[in-house]
């Protein structure tokens, strides 16, 4: 067998007529097209050169070069071919086609066959034995047949010839020289050559064969060279997948003998179970399937593979992942323009008249407040944002002074000093609503505006807005804020607790309970504690607000309130609101 390889390699090397190369790798044996004629024999060292092919990114041209991988040692040589060995690490990297270079000194080798023939010739020649001469052998009467010369000639004729011709040549020798003393050796050589022919034909048949039994070992060997994965199937990693797009799955069957039929199980997010699909055998050693795009959804697709080896009593077994421990393909979150969602925006406009002393327009403890704000519910990360504009205008002062002035002029009974103050505050605000939990929201609202105060008594409201007499008027920027906590569902039943403060205007503490006795009647009951519109005495407000939600996008509401700073300093008032929802 080895001799056959050598002969084949010699022929190949002769045809190649190029630099010496590794002509074949057979397990641990590395065949090179260098032999005794090249000065190579057992013990010689050969340098193994790997070809490197790279592409120049600038020019696109392909560059080739050779780099030494290591040294292999020759263990035996023929005339033109040698067998070499490499250490375990290097052996895995040796491939047919690698170039080799002799690194030890060349030696002269003698053909042992020729020596044997020569020696035999010397022994045979002195004892000529008369033998019948075959008709085809040219003989000279009286001259003995030179068996050694004929054998040598036959050997020379077989060199570099295919196996079949070599057999034929040896058969010719036996026919032409039936009394040759080398008959036994020649018969052994013929038998060896015939065995080699049979083995060669078998190997060629396997190379031609598409039969799995024949191909499986080859595939397994290649797969082992490709990677050292222990699984029977191998798949390329998927760092991430694009949502909504079909995903082609291809598995390398590393050991075809163990896979006769296989199935891919896939479970998209939220699905109760795995969907089974056939893995289709493809090409040399592959199984393929495609995961439907509808199943490729964030955050990921779970999958595993089961297979059977096709044996009569074998069971289906998981071979890559399992139902209990599936693999996961991470799927990118879908990026899309979300549809416009209803119920995200709200506009609230309300006006409230607050009369603490019951004097209405002639009193000294009243104010009105109007606000309009726009809300959009982003939901995440901030639940909602509001922008609003408000105005508050009114008059206030110490309740004792207001109540005790018999002239109802808000003057101190002892000093006669006017103690009330008119306030006008136009402001804007932004409120951010953040949800700590689904039913717990915190709302924070800073506000700023133009604050005008008037400490002079005047029969005319908003005196400071005029241009004629602004004595006692002060104008400055007023800042404030409000914090609220809502417990419960925003649209149905909830409780809101809040606290607010505005410099120069006052403080407001409130608790509001909102619910819907019927779907069309939203109701809110509030309790407020406030010293507005002028920071003097706190009072309490009890407010009832009832709406009528007949339309989905609009509802008005009406509010009535009772407020008092003490039992004698109290009044009724009200307000209304309009709410728009889209």
């Amino acid at each position: 067998m080895k001799r056959l390889l050598v002969v084949g390699a010699m022929l190949a090397a002769h045809v190649a007529a190029a630099e010496p190369i590794v002509v074949a790798v057979d397990g641990a044996d590395i065949y090179v097209d260098l032999g005794a004629k090249d000065g190579v024999g057992a013990g010689a060292e050969l340098e193994l050169l790997h070809e490197v092919v790279v592409r120049d990114p600038r020019s696109g041209t392909t560059l080739r070069d050779h780099f030494s991988l290591g040294t292999i040692s020759v263990v035996k040589s023929g005339e033109k071919v040698s067998v070499a060995r490499a250490d375990d690490d290097l052996r895995k990297r040796v491939l047919a086609g690698d170039r080799v270079k002799l690194v030890t000194a060349k030696k002269n080798f003698v053909d042992p066959w020729a020596e044997q023939v020569a020696a035999t010739k010397q022994q045979v020649a002195p004892t000529p034995t008369p033998t019948p001469t075959p008709a085809s052998v040219p003989t000279t009467p009286g001259k003995p047949i030179d068996h050694a010369e004929l054998a040598k000639q036959a050997f020379q004729d077989t060199l570099g010839k295919p196996l079949e011709l070599r057999v034929q040549r040896w058969l010719d020798l036996l026919r032409d020289d039936p009394r040759t003393p080398y008959a036994a050796s020649v018969q052994r050589e013929i038998a060896t050559l015939k065995n080699q022919i049979a083995a060669r034909d078998q190997a060629l048949a396997k190379a031609r064969s598409e039969n799995t039994v024949d191909r499986a070992p080859r595939i397994a060997r290649l797969a082992a060279m490709l990677s050292d994965v222990n699984e029977v199937l191998e798949m390329a990693p998927i760092v991430k997948a694009e949502p909504g797009k079909p995903l082609a799955m291809a598995f390398l069957v590393r050991n075809p003998a163990r896979i006769a039929k296989a199935w891919l199980y896939v479970r998209p997010p939220g699905a109760p179970g795995f969907k089974r699909m056939d893995l289709v055998a493809d090409g040399d050693a592959y199984l393929r399937a495609s995961i439907d795009g509808a199943m490729v959804r964030a955050p990921g697709v779970e999958w595993y593979v089961e297979a059977t080896d096709g044996a009569k009593d074998s069971e289906v077994e998981p071979v890559l992942g399992s139902q209990g421990a599936p693999n996961t393909i991470t799927v990118e979150r879908a990026v899309e323009e979300a549809p416009i969602e209803a119920g995200r925006s709200h506009i609230d406009a309300h006006v409230d008249y607050v009369d603490f002393d019951g004097g209405f327009n002639k009193g000294f403890d009243q104010y009105y407040q109007a606000e309009v704000d726009f809300t959009y519910r982003f939901l995440k990360p901030v639940y909602a944002v509001r922008l609003g504009f408000g105005t508050l205008a009114g008059k206030g002062g110490p309740k004792d002074v207001i109540d005790e002035d018999m002239n109802e002029a808000c003057r101190h009974p002892m000093t006669g000093e006017y103690r009330c103050k008119a306030v006008s505050f136009s402001y804007v605000y932004t409120e951010i609503e953040y949800r700590i939990r689904p039913n717990v929201a915190v709302m924070i609202r800073p506000q700023a505006g133009l604050l005008t105060t008037d400490v002079m008594p005047s029969a005319r409201d908003r005196r400071c807005a005029g241009t004629t007499n602004v004595e006692g008027c002060e104008f400055f920027t007023g800042f404030g804020g409000r914090v609220r906590l809502r417990l419960g569902d925003e649209a149905s039943t909830n409780l809101v607790l809040g606290a607010g403060f505005t410099d120069g205007v006052g403080t407001l503490l409130e608790a509001a309970y909102h619910w819907r006795p019927t779907p069309v009647v939203p109701v809110q009951l509030s309790v407020q504690v406030t010293d507005m519109p002028v920071p003097e005495n706190f009072g309490v407000r009890l407010i009832g607000d009832v709406g009528w939600r007949k339309l989905s996008w609009f509802y008005p509401s009406l509010r009535l309130s009772y407020q008092a700073r003490d039992i004698d300093h109290a009044g009724f008032s009200g307000g209304l609101a309009m709410n728009f929802d889209w």
Binding site: G8, L11, A12, Q202, A207, A236, A250, L387
Partner: protein
């Protein structure tokens, strides 16, 4: 020549594979040539704009003329790439870098009899390697679809506000801008260049005319350039610089804004601007898209425009509505209400834009 010789070597060396086999030859048809076997782990996804390397081990490689045939998804013609020896052992073929949606390929060989042999996938059922688009790739696709692939916009906007004054002094401004926007729709989302004009009158002191109060005119003519960057799927940063000439001489300014949400959908923006001779401004704007086809917004603006000389800051709230009149044309209108020193007054604005 070399290939021929190696093929012969392979043919002759092949019996070596049979060393360990039972010597029971399986006769094959004499005409059947040997075939290569190609083993590789097929890539399933690839990164955008990076070559795809096929690393393979091949048995009897020279028994066939092997190649990987590829094409970009959507193309009709196939391209061939042959397998080269790898310095790390084995063989490799490199498929070129591709963008989304990806590339498809199959591996075939042609044996010595000229018969095509399928080694992996096929022309009829090629293997698809998805190139997963980056976030900005996908956002760009959405944006292109949204703007109908129109990458240019010209917009004209005029806004004004009358702050009024408690002494009946004039305090108002009008600002007009003509802007060209080039949409890039990537991390750099757009570039804008334009011209603007601000004209206004503002009190020199907050006092009645009889006590020395009066007003003066301020103005600025400027050019500006700005960029909008998309730093996150739903976060945009706007930066702009402007240079011009004001009532006082050469003037410049900068402006910036951050938008949470998408500027064409519901969003909230915080912004500021500083103009050398006309003072600073800051605003918060809330926009909602819940009343299609209208796009509504509300803003709170604190501004010194048109370069106020009195201490009080102008403060107004603005409500605006945008409506796409036609496929390419949009109109905007704004109503504002606010004051600086005295009672609140109204303002407003109009604008339009055309895409192309």
């Amino acid at each position: 020549m070399k290939t021929t010789s190696l093929l012969l070597v392979t043919l002759l060396a092949a019996p070596a594979l049979a060393d360990d086999a039972t010597p029971t030859p399986t006769p094959a048809p004499a005409a059947a040539p040997p075939h290569a076997i190609v083993v590789h782990v097929a890539p399933l996804v690839a990164e955008t704009k990076r070559p795809i390397e096929l690393v393979a081990q091949i048995d009897t490689p020279f028994a066939e003329a092997l190649s990987a045939r590829w094409r970009r998804i959507g193309d009709t013609t196939w391209n061939d790439v042959t397998f080269d020896r790898s310095s790390a052992g084995g063989w490799y073929a490199e498929l070129p870098a591709s963008g989304p949606p990806g590339i498809e390929y199959y591996i075939r060989g042609k044996d010595t009899a000229g018969v095509e042999v399928a080694h992996f996938a096929s022309e009829q059922a090629p293997h698809v390697v998805r190139v997963v688009p980056s976030l900005y790739d996908r956002l760009e696709v959405l944006d292109r679809d949204r703007v109908h692939d129109r990458k240019n916009e010209i917009a004209v906007d005029v806004i004004g506000h009358n702050f009024g004054n408690r002494y009946d002094l004039d305090d108002r401004f009008v600002r007009a801008e003509l802007a060209y926007t080039r949409r890039i729709l990537r991390e750099l989302h757009s570039i804008t260049f334009g011209f603007g004009s601000i004209s206004g009158t503002t009190p020199v002191m907050s006092a009645p005319v009889s006590m020395g109060g009066g007003d003066t005119g301020h103005s600025l003519r400027y050019g500006f350039g700005g960029v909008r960057t998309r730093v996150h799927e739903s976060v945009f940063l706007d930066v702009r610089a402007q240079l011009g000439a004001s009532h006082d001489g050469f003037d410049g300014g900068i402006a910036g804004a951050v938008t949470f949400g998408k500027p064409w959908r519901s969003c909230v923006s915080f912004g500021g601007e500083y103009l050398g001779d006309l003072g600073p401004s800051a605003w918060v704007r809330l926009q909602w898209d819940t009343a299609p086809p209208l796009l509504m917004g509300a803003s709170i603006v604190r501004t010194d425009l048109p370069g106020t000389d009195i201490d009080s800051a102008g403060l107004y709230i603005a409500y605006d509505v945008a409506y796409r009149v036609a496929d390419r044309f949009a109109m905007r209108a704004q109503l504002s209400y606010g004051a600086r020193d005295g009672e609140s007054h109204f303002g407003g604005g109009l604008g339009s834009s055309v895409d192309f």
